[in-house]
């Protein structure tokens, strides 16, 4: 596989003819110029454009943020008062001050400069969502409880996705400060903890409300992905000599991720699909685009995911940590696909059973009526 990848990279040498590039540039620009007249900005606009191109990005960011912060804070304080902002801290989804709580979180992110610190914040918000889920789960069953848990779980998922984006940015960043890795390690630890808490809470919640299974599974999956992404960043920094973490410790972390991913796959309950005669076919809409459209949906076996994770272990043994963690991400993606498909099949079965029960009930009613008539 490594050889194939290297060969694919070599294809990068393919380039268009230089004379064609130059020729087309001329044609393109003349066509554009013919289509439009350039719009001249005002003097102030030009001055801003010119100065903006020379002012370092950092200066722009640091000067804009406090101004933005002051205006947002002014709105918040005028709107709800300082007590309102503090009171919102304990609010739950559905409460009056919950939007204030979420807005305050956004403001907190906006004043933080570094991507890794922002990632830490987002994971902190995700942790807050878990607390909300745990609190709401103790409320009586009902539509309100379900809606609140859904809101919190989706909020958690979104925070984790943003954290992953910030981790990507931190990886691209050339900052060699050890503080970067320290922050990313905190992100990993916290994401792991959130994932474990979610798993435990999910079992309790889904026992009484199966419809929340998919939502909570996605939230947990987002936490797991963030944790793996954090390791990916640490591996990258390690390869550039920007961390003090030892090889052994890093290998241990990757191995832990592989083991966890394998356990996830093995925990999936296999679903058996009976192939029915054509007249009785029920087409399940395939959520995965790799399935054949319009055909019978067949549950994928976990063997593919396990095979990928086995390859991850091989790469780990060879010392190729970045390929190993990439394989973990691929294996987790397949596992997630299987879980979604399983959920779809189970939902479809539940709906079919409900429909059949309704039909049987109608039949029984009809039979009873016939008997009564006779």
């Amino acid at each position: 596989m490594a050889k194939l990848i290297e060969q694919l990279k070599e294809l990068r040498t393919l380039a268009p003819r230089k004379e064609w590039v130059a020729e087309q540039r001329e044609i393109l620009l003349s066509r554009i110029a013919a289509q439009t007249e350039a719009v001249q900005p005002s003097f102030a606009g030009r001055a801003w454009l010119v100065s903006r191109s020379w002012i370092p990005a950092g200066v722009l960011r640091y000067s804009a943020r406090p101004l933005g912060l002051v205006s947002i804070l002014a709105v918040l304080v005028l709107g709800v008062g300082m007590f309102g902002v503090n009171a919102s801290k304990g609010s739950l989804p559905g409460d009056l001050l919950y939007p204030v709580k979420l807005t305050t979180e956004k403001v907190r992110v906006s004043v933080v400069a570094s991507e890794e610190k922002q990632a830490e914040l987002y994971v902190g918000f995700a942790e807050e969502r878990v607390k909300e889920i745990e609190t709401v789960a103790q409320q009586p069953l009902g539509a309100s409880r379900k809606a609140k848990i859904t809101t919190a779980a989706n909020g958690l998922k979104n925070s984790m996705i943003k954290a992953q984006g910030k981790l990507d940015a931190a990886k691209q960043n050339s900052n060699k400060d050890q503080q970067v890795v320290t922050s990313v390690q905190k992100v990993d630890d916290k994401s792991e903890s959130i994932s474990a808490r979610l798993e435990q809470k999910k079992l309790e919640i889904v026992a009484s409300d199966k419809e929340l299974d998919q939502t909570l599974t996605e939230a947990k999956s987002a936490s797991d992905q963030t944790s793996v992404k954090a390791i990916e960043v640490i591996i990258d920094k390690h390869s550039k000599g920007e961390t003090q973490i030892s090889d052994q410790e890093l290998v241990g972390k990757v191995e832990q991720k592989i083991n966890k991913a394998q356990a996830e796959v093995k925990a999936i309950t296999p679903v058996t699909v009976t192939i029915k005669p054509a007249s009785q076919l029920t087409v399940v809409s395939a959520k995965s685009e790799t399935a054949s459209t319009g055909d019978i949906f067949v549950q994928k076996k976990p063997s593919e995911a396990l095979q990928i994770l086995s390859e991850a272990q091989d790469m780990l043994r060879q010392g190729d940590l970045s390929s190993a963690i990439e394989k973990v991400q691929q294996g987790s993606a397949v596992t997630q696909e299987i879980k979604q498909n399983t959920n779809a099949i189970n939902t479809n079965d539940t709906n079919s059973n409900n429909a059949n029960d309704a039909n049987n009930q109608d039949t029984n009613t009809a039979d009873t009526n016939d008997t009564n008539n006779n």
Binding site: M1, I5, L11, A15, W20, R31, V39, R52, R61, S332
Partner: protein, 185 residues
């Protein structure tokens, strides 16, 4: 923010606010090679790839200036999306079929020789190119984006308008399929 990213944002701003052709020319310089390469692996001939690449940049200009209210977060992703759509439209116009005519087969072979020359190919690369040609389009596409153009999973997901998880699965299956076709390990 990296220097090149800041410059790109400034150029985009000039294009959209001032309809600055020269600024767009600089964006063209930065992206023409990769867009050509992306399209080249999707069509049979170099000439087709050249025509479509030109079309991509013209259409992107038109899009930027007719959708002033739409924020462009990632110009790279926008270009690739326009490129994909152009290739799809191209085949629809040609009513392309999977089985090529003899003439098209010859053109493909001839162009594959050009491709080999362009990439200073060795025997393994001929094998790779043969495998790529036989791959399903969406497998080939994702491998080119990931390994040849070295885009991240997130960027590829944005271009294909799919979830990251789906892209990861696709990459794995595409590599596996290519491995089977080329017999490489």
């Amino acid at each position: 923010m990296k220097k090149s990213l800041l410059k790109e944002k400034y150029l985009l701003y000039s294009v959209r606010q001032r309809k600055d052709a020269e600024a767009y020319g600089q964006l063209y310089d930065a992206y023409v090679d990769r867009i050509f390469r992306f399209i080249r692996f999707k069509v049979a001939r170099t000439e087709e790839a050249e025509d479509l690449t030109s079309e991509v940049f013209l259409k992107t200009w038109e899009y930027l200036n007719s959708h002033a209210d739409v924020k462009v977060q990632n110009f790279n992703a926008l270009l690739y999306r326009v490129a994909r759509n152009c290739v799809i439209d191209h085949y629809r116009r040609r009513r392309a079929e999977e089985i090529l005519t003899d003439e098209e087969q010859m053109a493909r072979i001839q162009d594959s020789r050009d491709l080999n020359r362009e990439t200073e190919v060795k025997m393994e690369m001929k094998n790779l190119e043969g495998g790529l040609n036989k791959l399903k389009d969406f497998y080939r596409e994702v491998l080119i984006l990931k390994y040849t153009e070295e885009l991240s999973v997130r960027e590829i997901a944005e271009i294909l308008d799919k979830k990251k998880g789906y892209v990861r699965v696709l990459i794995h299956r595409a590599l596996k399929a290519l491995k089977e076709l080329t017999g490489e390990d």
